[in-house]
Symmetry: C2
DNA sequence: TTGAAAGCGCTAACAA
DNA sequence: TTGTTAGCGCTTTCAA
């Protein structure tokens, strides 16, 4: 039996204290220009003094708007918490906050599909818009949301012929740039170490690597790891191909400690005999010795773009017509080397 | 001018379709035992079929309960995003979800104090309870929340003589255990590398280290770094004291890559000539070569405890009387060595 | 520029 | 066991 929490000051209380109608108080907050300056000032002072804030629920019920963006948090493998999430969320909270929105974390209950959780959010009018990330190419959530017409946006990509309410990093181009950077540092033999999971963003990076290699006329090999334990062995194997590569491109920063260990085991010094590059600019990459050259995702710009699309959908009722691809920024650090 | 989003099916619609009153529909959802089985079944089927979900705002307005926990996200230094946050949030979302609550991320607006942001949450009746983390010992938010009587809980600690609605890791004990572990592996000379920031949890770890050193009769030195760039130099200096320490205890995993590099620069092999231990069990510690011995925080148990305290406050109106200290789990990995 | 009336969708309290 | 009534606090609409 939840105790009935004492309710705070209501619009009525303030109105009585000010000797005006409730409507005047409401206007002071929602449409200040409608009040005479002196009334406005008096009322505003009183609102501040009494600590009045409109009740969120009442306001939402009446106006039909919640000022909340629901974000379905991807279920993270506890072994590999998506460290990126904290940076992305961070950016989303900031971007949404500036627009007067807050982020509500929604997790499907055990056994419940993500689409079903979203259905709950929509039907219960919990949020004004929904944000998705970590979607697969044919994710049913995207179609479901599109059908309902509910405002949503995706961090990631959706295939052609599907709703294009997404914002993503141009991973392929970033990878091409990285290969170009290696080429301009004199590298000719470059190996690629990737993660074997069939995740869209990983495949885009790989594709970018291949394009870059062709474009800059470089030679190399690719190898993929399935899990933590394989990293060092597979990297060593890659470093032993002949002719030996002078650079090792990783599809994710998380592989870097393994790559560094492999180099050491092969008697190579990263940053001198071997260049290594990563992807994502995780915080710890700057602490590796030598610090890792990698690609930084423009999280804040991504978040801003997502929020602006979301709000456009909410306010105009029109979903965005095209996806938005933002450039990643290569970050040059000492793990890069120059080859004569 | 926000478009008036079409409202979905209401309780009225379902009631009409079922030929019963609204109250019966409400009861089917909130107090099923009050209905005759056949009525319940009929109504439930109809609810499912029509996709009816009670409007969150209307429900909240009427019942005074929001089923939301507000979490003020600490403002993260973009240079050092608290990678822990994602793991903690993850656990909180899961724990709260099981209790039927969701997490709302609240960030003070620029220039706004955290206490002020909390005041907004309370006055606007946005949430049923508030969760704080990263509080300092004399954090004004804690006193403010205590005075208001609003349900809240803290991940971290508050000083004696202050509200005790907190759950924390017993960092000191974990550190003592770690030193004990080193002692039992034959180590006699152990160095401590810490972060100089005056954060409570770091000071607890340091205190635990000292207690452990005394208790096990070990000798050693302490040194502190102020930033990223100092790590390797300070660690090398520590390794050069004579007699040379056989183990290096870090107050946080983030120092580990620097410690490994320092060892290498000194011609030492971590896991053979030198033991290194960390704190927090960040995901990448398992990828270091050798994988790092560290302390895992029981995030899920912390989250469960926080949620249960929060709900107790909400439901009984009684704040918890004592803090709860949970044990951290030392995780033994190959960076530990045995000394003859 | 201000005020009065209506009602958003729901559930608590009570009546049948 | 079910239905009726009232009203949570606010904003929209319309009238003064």
């Amino acid at each position: 039996m939840p105790a009935q929490r004492p309710r705070g000051v209501s619009i009525q209380d303030v109105a009585r204290a000010a000797g005006v109608s409730r409507q005047t108080i409401s206007n002071a907050i929602n449409a200040p220009h409608k009040l005479r300056p002196d009334t406005l000032e008096r009322v505003t002072a009183l609102i501040e003094e009494m600590g009045y804030r409109p009740d969120q629920s009442a306001r939402s019920l009446r106006s039909g708007t919640r000022r909340i963006i629901a974000y379905t948090t991807p279920e993270t493998d506890p072994d590999n918490p998506n460290a990126l999430m904290s940076g992305f969320l961070e950016a989303m909270v900031a971007a949404a906050g500036e627009a007067g929105y807050r982020i509500l974390l929604v997790r499907p209950r055990p056994g419940q599909s993500r689409a079903r959780a979203l259905e709950d959010v929509i039907a219960a009018r919990t949020a004004d818009a929904i944000l998705l990330s970590d979607v697969l190419e044919d994710d049913p959530c995207v179609d479901y949301l599109h059908e309902t017409g509910f405002p949503f946006a995706v961090f990631g990509r959706t295939g052609p012929g599907r709703p294009q309410a997404w914002v993503d990093v141009d991973s392929a181009q970033a990878m091409i740039d990285l290969v170009g950077l290696l080429s301009s540092h004199g590298h000719r033999r470059v190996a690629y170490l990737g993660t074997s999971a069939a995740l869209p963003w990983l495949r885009h990076r790989e594709a970018g690597f291949r394009i870059g290699m062709r474009r800059f006329g470089l030679a190399g090999h690719e190898a993929f790891v399935d899990g933590l334990d394989e990293v060092v062995a597979v990297a060593r194997d890659l470093l032993n191909r002949s002719p030996r590569p002078t650079a090792l491109v990783l599809d994710d920063d998380w592989l870097a400690p393994g790559a560094y260990a492999a180099a050491q085991a092969e008697g190579l010094t990263v940053g001198a005999d071997l260049a290594v590059t990563g992807f994502n600019d995780m915080p710890y990459t700057r602490l590796l010795q030598p610090p890792l050259t990698t690609v930084r995702l423009p999280l804040r710009r991504i978040a801003d773009a997502l929020v602006s699309r979301l709000l456009q959908s909410v306010e105009e009722g029109e979903p965005p017509e095209a996806g938005l691809l933002l450039a990643g920024d290569p970050v040059l650090r000492p793990s890069m080397t120059t080859v004569e």
